[in-house]
């Protein structure tokens, strides 16, 4: 049985009169299995985050279905859903000081009774989560005294402390440098492969998604243009439609697609020649994204 399944799922944001759709998403068809790493790709305002929220159960589809291990995700009680689905925040703004272990331990809330005091089992789960992201050494540090990359790992650890089967992340690499992006993608890939999470991310990083993800879904203005492996989905025409930019796709020696920007200077302007006269360029300038 697939872990996550979206079947003709549609959502729409309505205007104030509750009749006119301001933005429509779908229909979305997506199947993700245990151990798979999936990316939702698309330009800004293409509906990626809305799709993520619909797949997390936060938004109920107006038509169609989203199922988690065969069960309608929107019908699950909030705590039970939180035990199975973890939505990883991009960043966290803490009003008052917290230590890393206190923050990660909050991930055990879905398992708590009304007046919850954490048990030894909760502490073990939190420690395990910190180990999985390589942040055990940060446990006693204050959250406002760690770096951005370290905070990202701690935020991920809190989600893992929920012991979910589905991990959802909305643009997790947004504030990271290239090294941080690669490290995070590697971590997520390991979580999927070795710990059998199903990981689904929203991202703009086409080449990182191609390198790490088993499946990608390409969205454009609320429509799902293509779903499949990166090699199936990364077609020049589809990508240019989705991103409204001149792109081309090359295959590496390993058969992995790589997206390049075509006509970087749009055929008009280039650099300044030694003579001091502006140069014009035509043709491709192959600069990787």
């Amino acid at each position: 049985m697939p872990r996550l399944e979206a079947e003709q799922a549609v959502y729409a944001y309505l205007s104030h009169d509750r009749e006119t759709p301001v933005f429509s998403l779908g229909p979305v068809d997506l199947v993700a299995r245990a151990g798979e790493f999936v990316a939702l790709l698309g330009a800004n305002a293409s509906g990626k985050s809305t799709a993520l929220r619909m797949l997390s159960g936060a938004l109920r589809p107006l038509s169609g279905r989203v199922r988690l291990e065969g069960v309608e995700i929107g019908g699950l009680p909030a705590r039970e859903r939180a035990q199975r689905v973890a939505v990883v925040a991009q960043e966290t703004t803490l009003m008052f000081p917290l230590r890393v272990w206190e923050y990660v331990l909050q991930g055990r809330y879905p398992y708590s009774e009304r007046m919850h005091f954490e048990s030894a089992e909760d502490c073990a789960a939190a420690n395990q989560a910190l180990q999985e992201v390589g942040a055990s050494h940060l446990a006693s540090r204050w959250m406002n005294r760690i770096s951005g990359g370290e905070r990202q790992r701690v935020i991920l650890a809190r989600s893992l402390a929920q012991q979910p089967t589905l991990l959802l992340l909305d643009e997790p690499t947004q504030h990271l440098d290239i090294g941080g992006k690669v490290e995070l993608m590697r971590s997520l890939w390991r979580l999927a492969r070795m710990h059998h999470y199903t990981v689904l991310i929203v991202t703009h990083e086409l080449n990182l998604a191609a390198g790490f993800c088993d499946q990608v879904a390409l969205l454009h203005r609320g429509k799902c243009l293509a779903v499949g492996t990166p090699r199936e989905v990364y077609r020049r025409e589809s990508l240019e439609t989705a991103f409204e930019a001149p792109l081309q796709v090359q295959l590496t020696a390993e058969g992995m697609p790589r997206v390049l920007i075509q006509n970087y200077f749009d055929g008009d302007f280039g650099g300044i020649a030694d003579s001091g006269v502006p140069e014009t360029h035509s043709g491709d300038a192959a600069i990787s994204t």
Partner: protein
């Protein structure tokens, strides 16, 4: 990893309760009628155990009739304002929030001043009118602070600030235009004071306070998560909408209760939660009960100082908290910047 435990909560609260008892005993000693600490403790113990006949009548009158009611009022007001402040800081996700930020105090003051037009001697009418003013303001701000059918923290804060400003303007207008009237009772509101005996029973006040703080306490695990982000809390299974309504109503009730019997005592609701955080951490499962006890300690101690520093003149407790509160706030601000 040292998670919060019931034992730690009870231990810290036990320690604070002992300190509160000590402050109460010292405060009971103050006054023209001399009574030793030993006699005070014995009288309290016998009174609690129902052995009234064993207590000398003068001791009973002084302690239970005169001094203890004022101290008990200080405990109620200190605990209520401090817990309300801590609750609003979580609800609004703003460390500068205090019990008055949403206009409850201004509403209560307006109710009180309007009641003085018809019942210039204050008393029960004034206190009921103040509570009614607080309740109406709470209701109005609640509806103004909704967005998409739910309480929105930013909208609530703005609605509260605007409402407080408007009501303050109305109060100033009334006090200016009604200058010929005897509005000495309004000085009580401006300074905050424990000298006026509540018109309702102390037992009822303690009951309402206890139940309301208890209601807030049941939401403390949720508040810990809401403080890291409402969306994140929802994804963890918190019913954020329900928690916000419960905390808003309960904290407003505590504020209305305190303000209707003591006027606007400032700084307590803002500073006591921060002081408790510095000492014991930010976990609301400990913060709420510890803040209640610490607020009670501070108000009783402030009132005691107000009665002694310029004896026989009594300084209102609100003046004492303001004089001490500003330097403490500056210290916390500087400490936070480091």
């Amino acid at each position: 990893m040292q998670p919060m435990t019931v034992r730690r909560v009870l231990g810290v609260c036990g320690l604070l309760a002992v300190v509160l008892f000590g402050v109460v005993v010292i405060s009971l000693r103050l006054g023209a009628y001399p009574i030793s600490v030993r006699d005070i403790v014995l009288t309290l113990a016998r009174g609690v155990m129902g052995h009234r006949a064993q207590i000398p009548s003068d001791d009973w009158l002084v302690i239970f009739g005169l001094r203890l009611p004022r101290i008990a009022l200080g405990i109620i007001v200190g605990a209520s304002l401090s817990v309300a402040g801590a609750s609003f800081q979580a609800l609004l996700r703003n460390p500068l929030a205090d019990p008055y930020v949403l206009g409850v105090s201004s509403g209560a003051a307006l109710g009180a001043i309007l009641s003085l037009l018809w019942a210039p001697h204050g008393g029960l009418v004034m206190q009921m009118a103040a509570f009614a003013g607080a309740a109406l303001t709470t209701t109005a701000v609640y509806f103004l602070g909704r967005r998409g059918g739910q309480l929105d923290s930013s909208t609530l804060l703005l609605a509260g600030i605007i409402t407080a400003s408007f009501l303050s303007a109305v109060i100033m207008f009334l006090m200016t235009t009604l200058a010929g009237r005897d509005l000495r009772g309004m000085a009580f509101w401006l300074m905050g004071d424990l000298a006026t005996t509540p018109a309702v029973s102390m037992g009822l006040l303690f009951l309402v306070m206890g139940v309301t703080i208890g209601a807030i306490y049941t939401t403390t695990p949720d508040l810990n998560l809401i403080l890291t982000g409402e969306d994140e809390a929802r994804h963890l299974g918190v019913n954020v909408g329900r928690v916000k309504v419960v905390v808003y109503i309960a904290a407003s009730l505590l504020t209305g209760l305190a303000v209707s019997v003591s006027g606007s005592i400032g700084y307590v609701g803002l500073l006591v939660p921060h002081l408790v955080r510095m000492l014991f951490g930010s976990d609301y499962r400990l913060l709420i009960p510890a803040t209640a006890l610490a607020g009670a300690i501070i108000i009783v101690a402030a009132d005691m100082l107000g009665r002694t520093v310029m004896a026989p003149t009594e300084l209102p407790v609100g003046a004492m908290t303001a004089v001490a509160g500003a330097p403490v706030f500056i210290y916390l601000l500087r400490r936070g910047m480091r």
